[in-house]
Symmetry: C3
Subunit: 136 residues, 3 copies
């Protein structure tokens, strides 16, 4: 959770198109301390990635949660996501995953996200990677 020195607000101005999924168009952030989190992948503690897209999603957000908790922070501190998928067929699965899980993870509003379909991630078995910035 943001400490008393930072403030994070999410906006979806009427003058912009509606977000296509569980994200906000704008985050406004007042903070002097930030976390930059390397792109997280869907691997477990042994480095293994399940073949299922949704199972990888769960591990990605578990890993981001662990990064946040390691610094005394939580999902409410996230100010920006960039999400990379390898297969365009996974776009609706990713939207559904977030529609289901994000209301619980982000009760105060959804951070901005940029969704990109790219060629490949660092390992061929990886289907999704999410990089994040947080403010403390």
């Amino acid at each position: 959770m943001p400490d008393s020195k930072s403030s994070i607000h999410f906006f979806n101005p009427d003058t912009m198109g509606k977000p296509l999924a569980a994200y906000s168009n704008v985050a406004r952030v007042r903070a002097s301390e930030f976390l930059f989190i390397a792109g997280q992948i869907g691997t477990d503690a042994d480095g293994k990635a399940p073949p299922d897209f949704e199972a990888q999603c769960a591990l990605v957000f578990d890993n981001i949660g662990a990064a946040l908790r390691s610094q005394g922070a939580g999902f409410a501190n996230i100010i920006s996501f960039t999400s990379y998928l390898v297969h365009s067929q996974d776009i609706p699965k990713f939207a559904r995953y977030r529609a289901r899980e994000f209301p619980r993870l982000f009760p105060g509003g959804y951070p901005p996200n940029t969704l990109l379909i790219i060629d490949r991630l660092v390992r061929e078995d990886l289907l999704v990677e999410v990089a994040a910035v947080a403010a403390l």
Copy 2:
């Protein structure tokens, strides 16, 4: 426009290669308040994307402008762009678009940009997406 508490300066050091288009190599920013803007796409108020690349560019920057204005800011507050194109054939069109429009949008200098050609955006009809960070 940046308020009196922030300062934004753009640099193209002689020790680096010249920018290949309308961007600067370095932004130096002193600020305590930031906007993170989700990647903006070339859709109109009804969510429709024109088939023409340049028309999508105009809508992308209109949307970014709307995001900035919603927070009392403007293009002078932009400190970083990341631009994603789907077709490499659009690279020269994107450079021409910016060469024509950016002198008006950015009279004080061009923010850094990273240009990437990727597989696909969230919808198959989208040709360009631009994510931005701004300082207030």
Copy 3:
């Protein structure tokens, strides 16, 4: 090097998977001044890119170093990298390059990195591009 007003710390929490290469999972940064550096490519002063991947890597990090030095900073100020490769065959070469060079460039620890394989960069002869954020 960070000035006395900023602090930068890198973390690899035990609760997360081990980094797959020379990066950290989390950077924690207290700062009021930042550098946003446009994606740097492997070109020399004449804009020429050597055909060799590793030679392009060396030029990319030379260019990032020049950007940092132009503002009185150094590699110790880097808080985030995003690295884009065009060919997945270059992933092990990029890991080896960093394993060899980063201990010298980053004696205080490795900044977070997100590695992505994309279709193409701004010019067809470019094999690698790295965008960076630094704190002063």
